[in-house]
């Protein structure tokens, strides 16, 4: 209905292959960015920024990373938490070891370090596939968390095993990490990182690299036939995915919570991210954001609903109920639309484009 595409014809391949070939979509994304950059900082209070927007963005980044690996390259991974931990601890070591290093560079280098670790743990993907691989990635999950727990070097010999973010600023005096950091600065910093990385991810998946990933995912035999080197392609997926997850982990530790212990990145975190991409939509950039939003908002919603209707329920019961509802919702989603929220979005959009016709 909202889509009026008559007259939007493409005279070049560049225009035809644009990320948003439909004018209305371009308006939509521009509006979304405008809201994210202007309306949210102006209208959002500290609670909103710190407990909803920032975790949403951090989760979205991690989901994006996992989606590149699982949704696009078809390699199921249960080690996301471990890679996030690598990012967090690498950032910590870099930031404390090189106090003069710009925090942006710190995040990026930590991402690269995580990518290298991801590369290492991606090697089994040459020989094993599917669930075997998924289980194998658990090895990285357990091993990495164990390592950060056991070797105090990673926490600079902190007695509690907790790392806490030192004070760092961007552009001179905008503190984005540490106790002094202003929520709006933090938010804008994360937002910019996520926006740029999301754009880069979109670019990757619509070009040569994305096509080789999807080829491997859809039919690895045929992929080899057209000259795709399976190991190289899979390893690249592991590396890129880990890069994203590493930065997400770093932001989690440094900007969202300000300090973490390795347990924050245990296997539950991995599952949480996996849920995001399943519910959001495998193989969809948008889906990573939708899934992250869903998983971040659902507990808040479940937390607040009984109170809103005036019910007093013991905390334990609430936790258990949440767990049940969460589980049931996942099954429900998989049954209703196994391809996730992104697919629902797509269907809705398609309907709007065809309106008033049914097809």
């Amino acid at each position: 209905m909202l889509y009026r595409e008559a007259g939007q014809f493409k005279t070049s391949y560049a225009a035809d292959q644009a990320v948003f070939p439909i004018r209305q979509d371009r308006f939509l994304i521009a509006a979304a960015l405008l809201i994210a950059y202007v309306a949210v900082p102006l209208l959002g209070n500290e609670y909103w920024l710190l407990t909803i927007m920032i975790p949403f963005l951090v989760f979205a980044l991690a989901a994006l990373g996992l989606n590149l690996l699982t949704g696009y390259a078809g390699q199921v991974s249960l080690g996301t938490g471990g890679f996030m931990a690598v990012g967090a601890f690498a950032t910590y070591k870099l930031a404390t070891g090189f106090p003069g290093l710009n925090i942006v560079a710190v995040f990026l280098i930590a991402g690269v370090i995580t990518a290298l670790v991801g590369l290492l743990f991606g090697f089994p993907s040459l020989r094993i596939k599917g669930f075997y691989l998924a289980v194998a990635t658990l090895a990285s999950q357990f091993f990495l968390i164990w390592m950060f727990n056991k070797f105090p070097w990673f926490t600079n010999y902190s007695s509690s095993g907790v790392i806490s973010a030192p004070q760092r600023a961007v552009l001179g005096h905008f503190y984005v990490t540490g106790a002094e950091a202003n929520p709006v600065d933090k938010y804008l910093f994360v937002l910019s990182f996520v926006a740029v990385l999301a754009f880069a991810a979109k670019n990757l998946v619509r070009g040569r690299i994305g096509r080789s990933w999807m080829a491997i995912r859809d039919m690895d035999i045929a992929a080899e036939i057209i000259g795709i080197h399976p190991l190289k392609t899979k390893l690249l997926a592991f590396a890129v995915s880990s890069f994203y997850c590493g930065i997400a982990g770093a932001m989690w530790a440094f900007i969202y919570t300000g300090g973490v212990e390795p347990l924050a990145f245990d296997i539950d975190r991995s599952f949480q991210i996996l849920f995001m991409i399943i519910i959001g939509g495998l193989g969809s950039i948008l889906g990573s954001f939708l899934g992250a939003g869903f998983i971040v908002l659902l507990p808040i919603f479940l937390d607040n609903t009984p109170r809103l209707v005036g019910l007093e329920i013991p905390v334990n019961t609430v936790t258990n109920l949440q767990s049940m509802i969460f589980g049931a919702l996942i099954v429900f989603f998989l049954i209703v639309e196994p391809r996730g929220l992104a697919r629902l979005w797509q269907i809705g959009k398609e309907k709007l484009r065809l309106w008033p016709f049914p097809y």
Partner: protein
């Protein structure tokens, strides 16, 4: 039709020498030698289980024969991986369509160009400058193939939604996008109706004609084989029993026996 210019068939492009292949105790190929000459259309026929597909799999590196060598473009080898075969200029299609079901027709054909795309990771992430230029150049090339195979209307349709005949055409498109010197087609017309078969035959001839591509194909439909191919190789129980022009092969007693003795679909 006008006067069809003589197709120039050149020297051997590929030589398979004394190939033997076995799985466990089962012999798939025994001492098979064959040649594929430049610019020709070679048909490999034989009853079911004769080892035809195994032969293609050996040529493009899926199977590694226990004995024998393959010489392609003058280079002799014993082992190689399929992606290396692709790099040397061998493309193929499969008996059961092996497309990337999650992608559109356009993207599927574009994957055929992956080998020729060079821009590195960082350019790709920016999707700008050289990467964009490269992408658009290949798109332009791929569009010519889409035009050639007359699949414009399904350009942006996910291939999973296409009827079988069209999927086969898209798969041919993907192979063509690789600009192969040697094209291996495993039953390109299996499961097609008469009209689709005619279309496909025309495309195969046109490919051979317009691009000079050497083609080796496996086909069951005898009339198609007789019409299309310059030369026919007959396999039976993993052995080569005949090799020659279609007419002489048709009169070959061994071939007749092989076909009479075994019922094939």
């Amino acid at each position: 039709m006008g006067t069809l210019a003589e197709r120039r068939i050149g020297p051997p492009l590929l030589k398979a020498e004394q190939i033997s292949l076995a799985f466990g105790g089962v012999r798939a190929l025994s001492d098979v030698s064959l040649e594929i000459r430049e610019h020709e259309i070679l048909a490999i026929i034989g009853p079911n289980g004769a080892g035809k597909t195994s032969m293609l799999n050996v040529i493009n590196g899926f199977y590694h024969p226990q004995r024998g060598t393959i010489t392609f473009k003058g280079e002799t080898r014993r082992r190689m991986r399929p992606h290396q075969a692709a790099e040397t200029g061998i493309a193929r299609t499969f008996q059961n369509v092996a497309l990337f079901r999650g992608m559109t027709t356009l993207d599927n054909v574009m994957t055929g160009r992956l080998l020729r795309m060079r821009r590195n990771f960082l350019w790709q992430a920016l999707h700008w400058g050289p990467a964009l230029k490269e992408e658009l150049e290949h798109r332009s090339f791929v569009e010519r193939i889409i035009d050639f195979l007359e699949i414009q209307a399904i350009r942006k349709v996910p291939v999973g939604q296409l009827p079988y005949g069209l999927q086969k055409r898209v798969e041919l498109g993907r192979a063509l996008a690789m600009e192969p010197t040697l094209l291996l087609l495993d039953e390109p017309m299996a499961g097609m109706n008469v009209e689709e078969k005619e279309d496909m035959s025309r495309f195969i001839l046109d490919v051979n004609d317009e691009f000079g591509t050497t083609i080796a194909l496996i086909e069951h439909d005898m009339s198609v084989v007789m019409d299309l191919s310059d030369r026919v190789v007959v396999l039976d129980y993993g052995r080569k029993i005949a090799d020659g022009p279609p007419d002489s092969v048709r009169r070959n007693q061994d071939v007749i026996d092989a076909y009479l003795g075994v019922s094939h679909d």
